[in-house]
């Protein structure tokens, strides 16, 4: 039997009423005490944050449980949607079925649909370990958009102008900690689907880290979701993956960047030369599911 | 005298058209056709005779007029009210059995000199169908002054009359007119012995065209598209080498002509096809098939009376087809003979009685029209009125 009666004690009606009154009083105080739009007090003229905003690289997006949630979203929503909308035709997928060390994936860019389609083309194992470089000044200008995109596509902010050192450094850290990096070296979406000149950053990154580069080419995504439209429409999409390119000994980053650009151009033209798509023996070996591979472990990211 | 009279009435016409060819509407009291006592047509002048019809057929063009599906083009070329019936066998006062060539050209209208077409013998194209002592009209049966086959009596000019040989029955003689149309069409088609000829449709006109083509311009292969089994059997006996169902037309014409067939939307496309196609139904679907079943540079002859039909002109344009009509008869250039004479000769060997029937008295015209509208399903070819009782009594 509980002691006391219904109107007294800790959960009695009088006690509850007084707590409610307390809440109301607080709310009234806050509402009256803080104004917006009124002049600041003269004595506190300067606005400042006590703790400076550290530029976030959204490390949370690459940790559990976000990774599992993302896997679910991509398997359950993105992949079926991509299949239905574009029925993507993927050529050379054996090159990205499994990678024994981190690689830079380079693709042309003509649509916001590129990223989900390319990730779809990668296959589960590689997709799980791929981060996407997304324009910091576009996606991360609005924090909620940045978070949604990071959750869905595992993007990280990539500054297109200014702070090149910083961005290169962060990308290297990601590569070193075992992540593949999907980059669009054109810098922005092509207005008409044709290839635009590549920016040289990819060359630097690859040469500096001795990372192979996998050229990819998407055709048709521009019809799905062109620049300037917000609603995707169904259209067929073809994705070609080329043989990985590695920077040669003594090859400068600029030369290597040119070579990568030529490879993507050749893929766009549909060339099937062995230098580009590999001989059948190379592709056969690349697609060997039985050969045991050292599963790359994700190292903890280097602290700054 | 007793006759079925066709009058002109816009509300009735609209009603018929809305009913979409339903027999009970087309013969109702609101219809364009009425049975009753009408004035006996007067003889317009010398050379005209009175003819008492014996058997008078219900033609597809009559049915089109009744159900409001005839082309507006024909409207100014007709005078109202008229008594329908232009394919008939009849008897003169003196007892001679005759058939009437219904076309009302210069000779009939007493125009001297005749227009250039009548002079050539192509009386169907006569330019003077509005002149002379009788009313406007292309044919007996569409002209107010002459009477028509669906009445007790009509008047005809001597130049319209052809004596029927003893051996020919009244029923077979009645088919002289449509047979003459078909012979005219066959000669306009002018198939050679290397051609593959297609006759689309196996109603009376289609069957008679099969017979005419076989007789006058025998081709390498004669294919007939027939919808109903009795039509298929008749087509075969009249000389078709191959009879196919409409649903199989593309498949079987392709095989017969060694063409290629491409799958299309709604209709297929044949690369190749028949050399000459006779379209003997006059309906839009069949016309659209006909132009696709004919090879490039081939000839399509419209025999059945078409109305205002939606036909895709792209095949005609792309295949450079020669599309030609075949309306009526006169004197055939290729033989130098009159078409009716040729038809009377031809029908001696064709045993055309089997195409005619059943026969109805004029008083049962509602049943007759209903039967004629459903002729294919009822296993009939040409429904006709039997007027022998009337004239004898």
């Amino acid at each position: 039997m509980p002691a006391g009666t219904w109107y007294s004690g800790e959960w009695g009606i009088s006690s509850l009423a007084s707590r409610l009154l307390g809440v109301v009083a607080d709310a009234r105080l806050m509402r009256r005490g803080f104004h917006s739009g009124t002049p600041r007090p003269a004595t506190w003229a300067e606005r400042s944050t006590a703790v400076p905003d550290r530029p976030s690289d959204l490390a949370w997006a690459r940790m559990e449980p976000v990774r599992s949630i993302r896997y679910g979203i991509q398997k359950g929503l993105s992949a079926p949607f991509a299949e239905v909308m574009t029925h993507p035709q993927i050529e050379g997928s054996e090159w990205v079925q499994q990678l024994d060390r981190p690689a830079i994936l380079v693709a042309n860019h003509s649509s916001h649909a590129d990223t989900p389609l390319l990730l779809h083309a990668l296959g589960d194992r590689v997709r799980e370990r791929t981060v996407v470089a997304a324009a910091a000044d576009y996606f991360y200008r609005r924090p909620w958009l940045g978070r949604v995109v990071s959750l869905w596509l595992n993007t990280f902010p990539f500054a297109r102008s200014g702070g090149a050192q910083e961005v290169m450094h962060r990308s290297s850290v990601l590569l070193k900690s075992g992540w593949n990096l999907l980059v669009f070296p054109e810098g922005t979406r092509s207005p008409d689907g044709r290839l635009q000149p590549f920016k040289p950053g990819v060359g630097h990154l690859a040469v500096e880290n001795r990372t192979p580069v996998i050229p990819m080419h998407v055709r048709g995504s521009q019809r799905v979701l062109p620049k300037g439209r917000n609603v995707p429409l169904p259209a067929p999409v073809r994705i070609r993956v080329g043989k990985p390119l590695s920077p040669g000994a003594g090859e400068t980053s600029r030369d290597f960047a040119d070579r990568v650009e030529q490879a993507v151009q050749a893929l766009a033209k549909g060339s099937t030369s062995p230098e580009l798509t590999g001989s059948w023996i190379e592709r056969w070996k690349a697609s060997d599911k039985r050969a045991p591979r050292p599963r790359a472990r994700l190292a903890p990211e280097a602290p700054e | 005298m007793l006759a079925l009279e066709f009058s002109r009435s816009i509300p009735s016409y609209l009603l018929m058209r809305a009913a979409g060819g339903r027999a009970e509407v087309a013969t109702s009291d609101l219809s364009l056709l009425h049975l009753g006592d009408v004035d006996v047509p007067e003889l317009p002048g010398p050379g005209w005779r009175q003819v008492r019809p014996l058997v008078s057929g219900v033609c597809g063009s009559d049915l089109a007029a009744l159900t409001g599906h005839a082309s507006f083009y024909l409207e100014p070329l007709t005078s109202y009210p008229f008594i329908p019936g232009h394919e008939l066998s009849g008897r003169l006062e003196d007892g001679t059995r005759v058939v009437v060539q219904p076309v009302l050209g210069c000779a009939v209208r007493g125009i001297e000199p005749p227009c250039r077409f009548c002079a050539e013998g192509r009386i169907g194209l006569c330019l003077n169908v509005t002149e002379g002592p009788i009313d406007v009209g292309l044919q007996t049966g569409y002209c107010a002054g002459t009477g028509g086959g669906w009445g007790e009596l009509l008047v005809a000019h001597e130049s319209q009359l052809y004596e029927v040989p003893e051996a020919l029955s009244d029923e077979a003689a009645m088919l002289t007119e449509p047979l003459a149309c078909s012979i005219h069409a066959a000669l306009r088609g002018a198939a050679t012995k290397d051609d593959v000829v297609l006759v689309a449709g196996a109603g009376a006109i289609g069957l008679l065209t099969v017979a005419a083509v076989k007789l006058y311009t025998p081709p390498r292969q004669l294919i007939c598209i027939a919808k109903y089994p009795h039509q298929a059997e008749l087509a075969r006996s009249l000389g078709a080498d191959l009879v196919v169902a409409p649903a199989q037309a593309y498949q079987r014409v392709r095989f017969a002509t060694g063409a290629r067939r491409l799958e299309g939307i709604e209709r297929d496309v044949l690369l190749g096809g028949a050399d000459i196609t006779f379209e003997a139904t006059g309906n839009a679907g069949s016309l659209s098939d006909a132009v696709r079943l004919t090879r490039g540079g081939g000839r399509v002859v419209a025999v059945g009376m078409p109305g205002e039909a939606k036909v895709d002109w792209a095949p005609i344009w792309q295949r450079e087809l020669e599309v030609t009509g075949a309306y009526a008869y006169g004197v055939e250039k290729s033989t130098g003979k009159r078409t009716f004479e040729m038809a009377l000769e031809a029908s001696a060997s064709l045993n055309l009685d089997r195409l005619v029937g059943p026969l109805f008295p004029l008083t049962e015209y509602k049943e007759a029209i209903a039967y004629a509208l459903a002729a294919g399903r009822m296993s009939a070819v040409r429904v006709a009125f039997d007027l022998r009782g009337l004239s004898d009594g």
Binding site: I281, W284, S287 | R252, R254, G258, R260, E263
Partner: protein, 525 residues
């Protein structure tokens, strides 16, 4: 240990017998005293197929191990059987895919750059990408399609070369790529004794001019039966052609055989004898029967054609063609052979939804004849199960339906040729050439997925011996007009059909029902 096949006599306690009936079934009560021939149960498959394949490749019969035949810089062509085998198609992985993967792997290790894979379709329809993918497996497909993995084209003059003539004057043609290769590896799947051996290459990569040497009415009439190669004029001709090819090209032959586990778990009762049906099987049959009785044909077809068979591999051999084929036939017979005592007056059989030429397609009336009277009837050794002048009763709906893409020449064969005559000799002499040379059929064969123009003739010739041997053919439950067009008699029930048959074979006939598929080979003495 699997049970061997059996011949059972119908008595009062025998449950009703299942008849295949197109995309459906009928349950019939056979008269007392009738015999039912049941196929053997599936024999135990090889436990580890990949290992067995590797062993076969490294220990071939009368040939060097595959590894030693491969060297860099050589031209290697791998040819494989098309989707007409096995029936129904095998659930992934297909045995041929497993073999091809091993061969390709060996070629990759040896560094053979120039490798091409050709589907030996002969005059069959070209397979679609997905059908090829199913046979060769995903990995081979993505590596080679479409430049180095393709369908043979028997109508492309630049792709076929004349190898020579046999001493009997038969022309031998071969795919150009195969004829120019340093090594041709043929990957076969033998389902019935007719398949495989020299027939694989000589026919599979041949063209009309070489196939017509033995696909004639006379050859087939002299093949008693073509399901038993030693008694088959067809196979004698193939051997002559094959030997000529062996002289011209280095061939490494790989043959596999599978057991007769033809139906997946959902239709397990089809695999069992009616006496063994559990309550579950009975319920499954009952449900399926009701569904197939009610469902429209398209729906039924889609469902039936999606069934894949869980075959197990029973043998794999590599090396010289004849030696390999002997071993394979041994394996096939081990699975299929059923001894049957004496011939009979009447044979009944149900024609199923599937024959060799309508995988993922429609079993049209011509193919009903080919499957029922051609293939199923001819699965005998020594002599047919039905006596000469006896009656064959088949059950099939025989609807007038054709697949316009796959069988354009079949429609015309039915409407033009069969309308004229059903006599194989007459058909052959009057119509075959025209169909074989028709430009449209050729175009459909080359550019679409159509069987060759001449193929319906071969389908009909397959049944030539049956038509000659039997006094009458009665179709139960078929469309009357279609059955008459095929030249047979039509009956509504099996009882009526037996009554009609008695007019041909006399009162109190002996009746034998072939409860097939699963397939079997009746050894009649």
């Amino acid at each position: 240990m699997a049970r061997p096949g059996a011949v059972i006599e119908v008595d009062r306690n025998t449950p009703p017998t299942l008849f295949h009936y197109g995309e459906g079934f009928r349950l019939e009560r056979l008269p007392l005293g009738s015999r039912i021939v049941y196929p053997p149960d599936p024999i135990d498959p090889i436990g580890h197929p990949e290992r067995a394949i590797r062993r076969a490749l490294s220990n071939p019969l009368e040939d060097d191990p595959l590894k030693e035949l491969l060297r860099p810089g050589m031209k290697l062509t791998i040819a494989f059987d098309d989707l007409s085998l096995p029936l129904p198609p095998m659930a992934a992985p297909d045995v041929r895919g497993l073999v091809i993967e091993e061969v390709v792997d060996a070629a990759a290790r040896a560094g053979v750059e120039d490798v091409e894979l050709i589907a030996a379709i002969s005059l069959h329809r070209k397979m679609t990408a997905d059908e090829i993918r199913h046979i060769v497996g995903d990995r081979v497909f993505t590596t080679f399609w479409p430049d180095r993995l393709y369908n043979h084209d028997a109508e492309d003059p630049s792709q076929n070369v004349l190898i020579g003539r046999t001493n009997q004057g038969e022309e031998v043609w071969l795919n150009r790529r195969a004829s120019e290769s340093d090594l041709v590896v043929y990957v076969n799947l033998t389902l019935v004794p007719m398949d495989g051996g020299h027939k694989s290459l000589a026919t599979g990569l041949g063209c009309y001019r070489s196939v017509k040497a033995h696909h004639t009415v006379d050859t087939l009439l002299q093949s008693r039966s073509y399901m038993h190669p030693p008694d088959s004029a067809l196979h004698a001709s193939c051997v002559r052609q094959g030997e000529l090819i062996e002289d011209a090209v280095r061939v490494f032959h790989i043959e596999t055989s599978v057991n007769n586990h033809s139906f997946p778990a959902v239709a397990n009762f089809l695999q069992k004898r009616e006496t063994d049906w559990t309550t579950g099987d009975q319920a499954a049959f009952f449900a399926l029967k009701q569904v197939t009785d009610l469902a429209p044909p398209d729906v039924k077809r889609a469902a039936f054609h999606s069934m894949l068979a869980p075959y197990g591999m029973t043998g794999v051999n590599a090396g010289q063609v004849d030696k390999v084929h002997d071993k394979t036939l041994e394996n096939v017979r081990r699975q299929m052979m059923v001894p049957v005592e004496g011939q009979t007056d009447i044979v009944t059989l149900g024609v199923p939804y599937l024959g060799p030429y309508n995988v993922n397609s429609i079993m049209n009336p011509v193919l009903v004849v080919c499957t029922g009277l051609g293939y199923l009837f001819n699965l005998y050794k020594n002599k047919p199960v039905v006596r000469e002048g006896g009656v064959v009763i088949i059950e099939h709906p025989c609807r007038y339906e054709f697949n316009a893409v796959h069988h354009p020449s079949y429609v015309d064969f039915y409407d033009e040729v069969l309308a004229d005559t059903t006599d194989p000799h007459e058909i052959e002499s009057r119509y075959e050439k025209r169909f074989a040379e028709d430009a449209w059929y050729r175009q459909m064969y080359q550019q679409s997925h159509a069987y060759h123009g001449v193929h319906p003739f071969y389908a009909w010739y397959w049944a030539a011996f049956t038509l000659q041997h039997c006094g009458d053919v009665i179709v139960v439950g078929g469309d009357r007009a279609t059955v008459h067009r095929l030249g047979f008699k039509s009956a509504t029930t099996l009882e009526d059909a037996l009554e009609m048959a008695e007019q041909t074979v006399g009162r109190w006939p002996s009746i034998t029902h072939l409860r097939t598929p699963p397939l079997m080979l009746c050894e009649v003495d």
